[in-house]
């Protein structure tokens, strides 16, 4: 008789691991503005990491999405027929395909991007929902009897995007329900929203301090599939800040006003909810209940 652990191992070996990488390519990220070379460096690391994921098992799958301030595009795989390409060095055919496609696609996206006058925030939540859609589509096509484990890895150097709070929360809870793990690799600042998302879905959140060691960080923390993470020693999760950020000033607050329709949080009272445009009555002083007359009095 095999031990249940061995059977679980065997199943894990047979299952498909799908990794969807959401890569923030917004040029207004601080690290990119400081040094445009950084983006190339990040890209190289992400490609190597993606290929390392494909190298683990023959049936592993990879998707790379680019997320910027105005659009989300698939960098890999491309719909339709793949690019015909011959090996030029000893790199495995499938890996060179990933590398070529990602670079080519990203190049054309950056070339066609509209000019920015002021820094804008990346549409991370939107890209993540796109990744979720992609995952659920693949999930449906999996042959009977085969399991698929999916996860999303967000790599970003953007600031907190509190304006997408609603979408983020929807994404996190959908992911939780579908059993999809959300991992985040923050390159610049700690992002409390995404940190919450990782916590909800049992994913890893990591803030990288040195961009030079990015690949090594990725390989260490994010390469092991969630099923085997308990077998490895990974950085402990810091205490997650579950305070909500207010929608008016994007500050974390302990006590605030909550819209009764969409549950948006505000630090100050506003008569119209900025998220769902519900109109509230001005809160007057609490109505004082008229004292009930005592029965004795009446008699």
């Amino acid at each position: 008789m095999e031990s249940p652990d061995a059977t679980a191992n065997k199943e894990d070996e047979a299952s498909i691991d799908l990794l969807a990488i959401v890569l923030d390519t917004n040029p207004s990220q601080l690290i990119v503005r400081q040094n445009p070379q950084n983006l190339t460096q990040i890209l190289e690391a992400v490609i190597a990491f993606g290929n390392a994921h494909l190298m683990q098992k023959a049936q592993n799958k990879l998707a790379v999405l680019s997320c910027s301030h105005y659009t989300t595009e698939f960098l890999f795989p491309l719909p339709g027929r793949q690019v015909e390409l011959r090996q030029i060095d000893a790199q495995y055919e499938a890996f060179s395909l990933v590398e070529k496609t990602v670079k080519q696609q990203l190049g054309s996206i950056l070339m066609n991007a509209p000019r920015l006058s002021a820094p804008c925030e990346s549409l991370l939540a939107g890209s993540m929902s796109m990744a979720l859609c992609y995952i659920s589509r693949l999930q449906r096509n999996v042959p009977a009897g085969v399991k698929m484990h999916s996860r999303i890895l967000v790599i970003t150097g953007s600031n907190e995007c509190a304006s997408q709070y609603m979408t983020f929360m929807n994404v996190f809870f959908t992911a939780q329900k579908l059993g999809i793990v959300v991992d985040t690799c923050a390159l610049d600042k700690t992002l409390s929203l995404l940190q919450q998302g990782c916590d909800i879905t049992n994913g890893q959140f990591l803030k990288v301090n040195q961009l030079d060691g990015l690949l090594q960080y990725l390989l260490w923390v994010f390469l092991p599939s969630p099923q085997m993470r308990h077998k490895l020693v990974l950085p402990p999760t810091p205490k997650v800040d579950y305070r909500a950020s207010c929608f008016c000033h994007r500050e974390l607050i302990d006590i605030g006003y909550v819209c009764s329709v969409c549950l948006s949080v505000f630090c100050k009272y506003s008569p119209i909810c900025t998220t769902c445009h519900t109109i509230f009555k001005t809160p007057g002083p609490l109505p004082i209940k008229p004292k009930k007359k005592k029965k004795i009095d009446k008699n």
Partner: protein, 524 residues
């Protein structure tokens, strides 16, 4: 027979079979069910063939076992200079081992062992140990000393270089990927599948002897292929009947196609030296094909003569398709893809590709009836191994799985696992649409699967231990002393105080005998 002073001591291996039976009977009588459930007593393998008729079973090795058993560290090092082999080896490693390799892949100095072991959680220390042992056994890494006197792991430089090349590029391109002009008549996947299966079936048909009957689609296979079948013990030369299939051969037929191909290729590689082929080159070629893209053409330009010969052999078994012998263009088929890994191949088949696969034809019902929609001799012969065939119609065979029929198969060395996987593999598409099949992993009725497994477990109630009987003790004291000694040495198999009989493991016999001599001398 031999005597130690007044004590009779039967050495069972030299004794007659009846003695052996007696011992076994005693052991049987004594063993409780709980004992057998919990498992495997160290039964010496030498004794088993005598006790039960269990012939050599088909041994199916995976790639890792193959490398461990057949290769020396030096030859492994040679193999690792081929990036495709390294990729295959990497994928065969246990999961933890893969993580370790990846983490030190880009580290240029040796990593202290303590550091590596701190990467794994304490709870899975055993698994981790297995992983590190596996890496050492395959010479993927080796121990070196670093300044400070600590032991450290260092990846084999050749392996490291090759894996880096596979992952990041650099180095020479793989041999088969020379550029080609566009094929004017490219072959599609469906064609390749059909071609591969027809070629492979030729080999199988030959094995069950249906290839002899001149059929239009089946051709005879080459003497070379026959030689491999003989070498692999899948067939044997019989004086009267010519070449016939062996027991292992039947077990081979029950494997799924991928496992068959892999087993066959391993046997082929065993004999490749005789053909003047270099093992490393063959393996490299095999894995290049294994990692190629289906439906794409590759070039054999620049290959040496031996490799071209190897390619021709692969062509014969249906692993590659080539229009003409002289043509430089060839297409790998599904048989060649992911040769080492069954799961990978299954999982990579997406829904629309599934119908290209061989159609299932077996329906199994909960009443143990098996309906097979087939007219192929081969399939009927295989089915007949473990079912009792009831009726035959032109396109349908009806059989029933009975205890006797399954036990007969089990006696022949076929395992329950093999039977179940065969039935699953060739299950009729409609079987997969049943409600219960969609929810569970298997499309077979669970009662049938369980019963087949139970029938197998029935046979495993006994464990056989080779031993020596000590009896006819003159005093209870002698008996107790010797029994206690044997017990303290952990070699006591069974004892009965009333009859003053004990059975000692064979390897403990000398020790116990010596002790007895010393004891009886000092007492007497």
């Amino acid at each position: 027979m031999y005597c130690v002073s007044k004590l009779n001591c039967k050495k069972s291996i030299s004794g007659t079979i009846t003695h052996r039976r007696e011992i076994v009977k005693q052991i049987r009588a004594h063993r409780s069910m709980a004992d057998t459930k919990s498992g495997r007593h160290a039964s010496t393998s030498a004794a088993t063939p005598l006790l039960v008729q269990s012939p050599e079973n088909l041994e199916c090795k995976n790639f890792q076992e193959y490398l461990r058993t057949r290769q020396t560290p030096e030859s492994l090092e040679k193999l690792y200079s081929y990036p495709p082999i390294c990729l295959a080896v990497f994928r065969e490693l246990p999961e933890i081992a893969r993580q370790f390799v990846i983490r030190i892949l880009f580290v240029d100095q040796p990593v202290p062992q303590a550091v590596v072991s701190s990467w794994g959680a304490q709870r899975v220390a055993k698994e981790q140990l297995e992983a590190t042992n596996c890496l050492s056994a395959l010479s993927v890494w080796r121990v070196t000393a670093i300044p400070g006197g600590l032991a450290a792991w260092e990846l084999s430089p050749t392996f490291k270089k090759s894996v880096r090349q596979v992952l990041l590029g650099g180095g020479k391109p793989w041999a088969i990927t020379n550029s080609l002009e566009r094929d004017s008549k490219p072959r599609d996947v469906a064609f390749l599948d059909a071609y591969a299966m027809s070629r492979w079936r030729c080999v199988l048909h030959y094995m069950v002897g249906t290839g002899n009957r001149s059929n239009t689609e089946t051709e005879a296979i080459s003497p070379d292929a026959v030689r491999i079948l003989l070498h692999a013990n899948l067939m044997k030369r019989d004086e009267r009947e010519g070449i016939t299939i062996t027991r292992q051969g039947f077990q081979f037929l029950l494997l799924d196609t991928r496992a068959q191909v892999w087993h066959f290729m391993l046997q082929y590689l065993d004999t490749c030296q005789e053909r003047g082929l270099v093992l490393a080159e063959c393996l490299s070629m095999l894995f290049q094909l294994s990692f190629s893209t289906l439906g794409r053409d590759y070039s054999s330009e620049g290959m040496n003569k031996q490799m071209l010969m190897f390619l021709q052999h692969l062509r014969e078994f249906g692993l590659v398709f080539q229009r003409k012998r002289k043509e430089h263009r060839f297409y790998p088929t599904r048989l060649a893809l992911n040769v080492t890994n069954k799961e990978a191949a299954e999982a990579s088949i997406s829904v629309d590709e599934e119908r290209m696969q061989e159609r299932g034809y077996i329906v199994v019902e909960t009443n143990y009836r098996v309906y097979a929609y087939t007219d192929s001799q081969l399939q009927v012969a295989v089915l007949g191994l473990f079912t009792e065939l009831l009726y035959r119609f032109p396109n349908l065979v009806v059989g029933v799985l009975t205890r006797d029929s399954v036990r007969q198969a089990l006696r022949g060395g076929i395992t329950a696992e093999q039977i179940v996987s065969y039935l699953e593999q060739y299950a009729h598409p409609n079987m997969k649409l049943v409600e219960s099949a969609i929810q569970s992993k298997s499309c077979l009725p669970p009662t049938v699967v369980d019963q087949i497994k139970l029938w197998e477990m029935e046979r495993n109630r006994f464990t056989y231990t080779e031993g020596v009987v000590y009896n006819q003790f003159l005093s209870q004291n002698d008996f107790v002393t010797l029994r206690d000694y044997a017990q303290s040495q952990n070699v006591l198999v069974w004892q009965n105080e009333r009859t003053r009989t004990m059975v000692v493991q064979k390897n403990g016999h000398d020790d116990v005998k010596r002790y007895w001599k010393k004891y009886s001398k000092s007492a007497g």
